[in-house]
């Protein structure tokens, strides 16, 4: 084994390691996050995790001032219909993330002027002819992704009402 072949092997292994982690790293990290989230309710189903505290905290840097909804989705076969009610008088947002961790869309309470949202998430390139009445179609850049709904607890006295609105959020395959 010559030193040249040995050095060549080192360079090839280094380049492959660097390139593979660079290319697949973000989707792997997102897949791990989605795997943890889907353990709550599965895929294409809405999860209603409890308010974060030190005892139940499973996701780093969760906010104890928010109630979350999480929908891990896979629209490779069928589109996803997501509905949610926006509680009045507080900050609320639905953030859409693709498998590459990109936050490709956010709808907040100021934009959801009808008091709620009804969104059809489709595979990128899919015609939107089948969009249900009153729904907005959003194309997901990747087949798999995650929707994270944040509702701010702006007053401890309103927790029950905010949670009741949160519990009405749904996501399911059509």
């Amino acid at each position: 084994m010559s030193i040249v072949r040995w050095l060549l092997a080192v360079v090839v292994v280094a380049a492959l390691t660097h390139g593979a982690l660079l290319y697949f790293g973000p989707s792997y990290i997102m897949s791990v996050a989605m795997g943890r989230a889907s353990a709550l309710a599965g895929v294409n189903a809405m999860a209603y995790p409890p308010r974060p505290n030190a005892a139940n905290n499973q996701i780093v840097r969760s906010s104890p001032d928010l109630l979350y909804n999480i929908c891990v989705y896979d629209v490779s076969e069928k589109p996803l219909l997501l509905t949610a009610e926006v509680p009045p008088g507080t900050y609320w947002s639905a953030a859409f993330y693709d498998l590459g961790t990109n936050n490709y869309r956010v709808i907040n309470d100021r934009q959801a002027t009808t008091g709620g949202i009804r969104v059809l998430v489709v595979k990128s390139g899919t015609p939107s002819a089948a969009t249900p009445a009153g729904a907005e179609t959003i194309a997901s850049p990747t087949d798999r992704g995650l929707v994270l709904i944040r509702t701010l607890i702006n007053d401890e006295a309103n927790v029950a009402a905010i949670d009741a609105a949160r519990q009405k959020a749904t996501c399911r395959s059509l």
Binding site: L21, P64, A95
Partner: protein
């Protein structure tokens, strides 16, 4: 046997070089994607659709599931004004007027980036929870058990602070380095 060891050493060295170069390119040699404002640091790329592979990986590592800057700005403080890591062995105070945003909160996280246990669940202080002075000034105590005005518990180890600004003003979103944020003052320390 000797040949196998040489190939094995090439594999190990190659893996180390690949990992090391990726760490350097992603987290060390990055363009100025973060800005500092006092003790606070924010990542301008958080929540954005990155244009290059290194930025995408950096976002996945440092700010996964963050939202775009117009929606929420996240400022992190891990050190005091002197550059020393924040520790529950010392008390601190955050003070200043409320940040220019629709809503804000400050939360402390332990070394594992999880919420810090405290008897009164004193995880955070927010626009909804703090009591401010007549002139609008806000003072937030950072103590091991969260005692003190508007107190947040810091536990018994190192910690970081995360300041969340929801729907920040346009001026703040455009120039987060110039925004008026809470100042951190170090108090007494225990041995």
């Amino acid at each position: 046997m000797k040949t196998a060891l040489k190939w094995l050493s090439a594999l190990v060295l190659g893996l180390a070089l690949g990992l090391g170069s990726l760490w350097y390119m992603t987290l060390k040699a990055a363009p100025a994607s973060s800005v500092r404002n006092g003790v606070w640091v924010t990542n301008l790329e958080a929540g954005s659709a990155a244009n290059d592979a290194y930025s995408r990986l950096r976002i996945a590592i440092t700010s996964i599931l963050a939202m775009s800057r117009s929606e929420t700005i996240y400022f992190e403080a891990a050190t005091d004004a002197g550059g020393e890591r924040l520790t529950a062995a010392c008390d601190y105070t955050l003070s200043g007027p409320a940040p220019d945003a629709r809503w804000w909160s400050v939360t402390a996280y332990g070394p594992n980036e999880m919420l810090i246990h405290s008897a009164g669940e004193r995880y955070s202080a927010s626009a909804a929870s703090v009591e401010s002075a007549a002139d609008g000034a806000i003072s937030i105590a950072l103590t091991p058990d969260g005692s003190g005005p508007n107190g947040i518990a810091t536990g018994n180890d190192g910690f970081i602070l995360l300041l969340r600004l929801y729907n920040p003003s346009e001026g703040l979103a455009a120039a987060p380095d110039a925004a008026r944020l809470f100042t951190l003052t170090k108090g007494s320390c225990r041995a």
